[in-house]
Amino acid sequence: MTLHSKLFGAASGLVVACTAFAAQADVLFWSTQAKPVEEAQAMRDQVLAGFADVVDYQPNDGGPWITRLEAELQAGEGSIGVLGALHGDFSAMNPDDLMDLDELGVSAASDTFNSLGMLGTDSVQYVPWMQASYIMAANVEALPYLPEGADINALSYDELIAWTANVHEAQGRPLFGFPAGPNGLAHRFFQGYLYPSYTDGVVRTFASDEAVGAWEAFRELWSHTNPASTNFNILQEQLLSGDAWIVFDHTSRLAQAFNDRPEDFVAFPAPAGPTGRGFMPVLAGVAIPRTAPDMEAAQALIAYMLEPETQLATLRATNFFPVVDVEFPDDLPPSVRAAGAAVATMSASPDANPGLLPAGLGARGGDFNRVFVDAFHRIVLANQDIRTVLDDQAETLAAIMEDTGAPCWAPDAPSEGACPVE
C-alpha cells in the first residue's frame, strides 16, 4: 500500500466518521411555530436542551418551510427530522409524505385533537403538540367605561360595541384594536368567533340573513375601531403603546403585554352573540416526514415533546398550552395565567359554542381564509352592500368546498359529502 492510498483511506474514513457523527448528533426540528426570537431561544435553551440528542431548532416562515420540505420529499432524501406546524399546514400536505405514528403510542388528552391528527386517514399522521386560542384583552383604563350591568367575563357583542362606543366618546378617538394587518389573524375572528356567535355555522350559514346581521354588528364595531387596525398584526404592540385599549388576538400574540405590565391589562373571553359564545382552538402538531434521516431519534423527540414536563416548559417558552393532562405549577408567567383563565372561562361558559379548525380543505385553506378577508374588505372597508357581497363570496366559497369535497365541521351541522353553502 502506497503512502497516497493510505492517506486517502484515512481521509475518507475520517469523512465517513464525521458525516455519521453529524447525522447522529443532530435532529433538525423544522417548525413554523415559536418563531419570534425570544421564543426560539427559549425553545432551544429551556425545552429542547433536556433531550438526549442535540436538537437543531429552526423556526421558519411558511414559504421557506414548505418549499424546503417539498424539495426534500422530491429529492427522496433530506435533513429534516421532525416537523412542527399548525393543523392547517399539515392538512395542506399529502398524508403519504408523513410517517404513520400509531406505534409511538403518544397522543393528546382530547379525542377531537387526536382525530384531527389523522388528517382524514386511518392512522396518526401528526401528534398534537400544543394548543392556543383567541381571546380579548383590555387596558384597565377602559374598564370604567363598561356599560352598566355588563360582566366582563360574559360580554355580549352588543355590550362590547356599547363599551367601545363609550371609550370612543370619552377619549375622543376609537380605541378598539383588530388584527386586520397583512400578517394579522382577522380571518380567524370571522370563522371562529363572529359567524358561530351569530349564525351557529361557518360554511352553511355564510350568506344567511343571520350573517347579514353579524356583518352589520361588525360594521358598527368597526366605527369604534382604530382605523390603523388595517396595519395591526400583533395586538400586544398596540396594547403597550396605547393605540388600542380593547383588542382581540391570539393568546401568544398578546403575551408580551401581560408579561411586561401585568397590572395594566386584563384578559377576558370573547363576546357572545344570538347563537352563543363562538370560539376556536389553535392546534399545532409534530410529525415526521418520510425522508427523515434518523427515524428513531425523530420518534424519540416527538415522545419527548409530549412529556408533561416538556409540555410545561413549552408553555413557558411559547404561551401555547399543553395538549396532555398536566398539573399547573403556581409560578407561571402572568401571560399564561391571564390567558389560561380567559380560555377556561370561555370554554366553561354556559353559552359556549366551540368551533373546530377548518378541516379537509387541503391546499385551499388559504383561499378559504381569503373569502372571509375579502368579505371584510368589501363590506367594512369599502362599505359595499352586505347582501350583494355575501352572495358573491358565497359562490367562491361553494366552489372551494365542492373542489375539496370537505365535509362540514362544528358548529356547522354534519354533511354528507362536501359542506354546502346554503
Binding site: D26, L28, K35, P36, V37, E38, A40, Q41, R44, D45, D56, Q58, P59, N60, D61, G63, P64, T67, R68, E70, A71, E72, Q74, A75, E77, G78, S79, N183, N233, I234, Q236, E237, L240, S241, G242, R253, Q256, D260
Partner: protein, 279 residues
C-alpha cells in the same frame, strides 16, 4: 436701469437656487439618516421606551436588546456565513459578469440582443418559484447546505447588474485607447490589463458592492437552501416580524450595521462610479 434689474434678478435666482440646493441636500440626507438614527435610538432603549411616545432624542444606552442577541445561539456563525457567501458572490459575479460586459460592449456577434435580454430575464422569475427545483437539484448533487451553493444562486441574481454596469463602463472607454496600446506593443490582454483595467477598476468595485448587497439581503433562497450554514438574514429576518418591537429594532440594527460598514469602507469607489473625483 434694465441692466441692474437683470443683475438683481439673476443674483436673486442664484440665491434661491442655492437655498433650493441646500434644502434638497438636507432633505435627502434626512431621508436616509433619520430612520437609521431612530433605529439606533430604539436599539439602545429599554422595551418600555420603545413602545412609548414621543421618542427621546438621545438614546438611553440600555443594552438589554443587544445583549439578548449576543446570547442568541448561532448569531456569530450566521454572520460568518453571510460574509463568506457575500464575498463569494462578489468574486464570482465579477469573474463572470465583467467578461460578459466586455464582450457585449466590444464585439458584434449573432444573438447579441437576445443575449442581453436573456441576462435580464434571470430576474424575471421570482425566487420562491425557482427555490423548489433548485433545492431538489442541490440535495441530489450535494451542493445543499453549502456556502458555495448559495453563493451560486446569489451570483445568478447579481449577474444582470454586474453585466449591465460593466457593459456601460467598457462602452465609456474609447476603443481608440486600446488600439493605441496595440500599436505600442501591447496585445489584447496586456492592453486590457495596462490601459482599460485601471480605468474601470472603481466601476468594477461598485458592481461588486452591488453583488454584496444583493447577497446580504436575500432571504428566501438562503432560508431554503441552507440549514446548518444559515446566513444572518435567513437566520434572523424571518423570525423578526413576529418578535416584540424592541427586538425588531435591535435585530434590524444588527442586520443593517455590517452592510453599512462595508459600504462606508468602499464608498470612494461608489463615488467614482457616479463621476465624482476621488477625494
Amino acid at each position: 436701469m434694465t441692466d441692474t434689474v437683470a443683475i438683481d434678478a439673476s443674483a436673486d435666482t442664484r440665491k434661491w437656487g442655492k437655498v433650493l440646493y441646500v434644502s434638497t441636500v438636507v432633505f435627502l440626507c434626512a431621508w436616509v439618516l433619520v430612520p437609521i438614527y431612530f433605529l439606533l435610538i430604539n436599539t439602545l432603549s429599554s422595551p418600555e421606551t420603545v413602545t412609548s411616545f414621543p421618542k427621546p432624542f438621545w438614546p438611553e444606552f440600555d443594552l438589554a436588546s443587544l445583549t439578548f442577541f449576543a446570547g442568541f445561539d448561532g448569531m456569530l456563525s450566521a454572520l460568518k456565513n453571510s460574509i463568506i457567501v457575500a464575498a463569494m458572490t462578489m468574486v464570482m459575479s465579477i469573474v463572470i459578469g465583467a467578461p460578459a460586459g466586455y464582450a457585449l460592449s466590444r464585439f458584434e456577434f449573432r444573438g447579441k440582443g437576445t443575449f442581453r435580454l436573456l441576462i435580464l430575464l434571470t430576474r424575471a422569475f421570482p425566487l420562491p418559484l425557482l427555490a423548489l427545483p433548485l433545492a431538489v437539484l442541490f440535495i441530489r448533487t450535494g451542493l445543499d447546505d453549502t456556502a458555495f451553493g448559495l453563493a451560486l444562486v446569489h451570483t445568478t441574481l447579481a449577474i444582470p447588474f454586474s453585466v449591465l454596469i460593466t457593459f456601460s463602463l467598457f462602452s465609456g472607454i474609447p476603443i481608440e485607447l486600446e488600439e493605441a496600446a496595440w500599436t505600442l506593443g501591447c496585445n489584447r490582454l496586456t492592453a486590457f490589463q495596462k490601459v482599460v483595467l485601471p480605468l474601470i477598476l472603481p466601476g468594477i468595485t461598485a458592481s461588486a458592492i452591488f453583488a454584496f448587497v444583493i447577497s446580504w439581503n436575500e432571504v428566501f433562497a438562503a432560508a431554503v437552501l441552507t440549514i446548518e450554514n444559515r446566513t444572518l438574514t435567513a437566520f434572523l429576518l424571518q423570525n423578526l416580524n413576529t418578535s416584540p418591537l424592541h427586538l425588531k429594532f435591535a435585530g434590524g440594527f444588527i442586520l443593517v450595521v455590517p452592510a453599512l460598514i462595508f459600504i462606508f469602507a468602499v464608498r470612494k469607489y461608489l463615488f467614482a462610479m457616479w463621476g465624482i473625483a476621488n477625494r
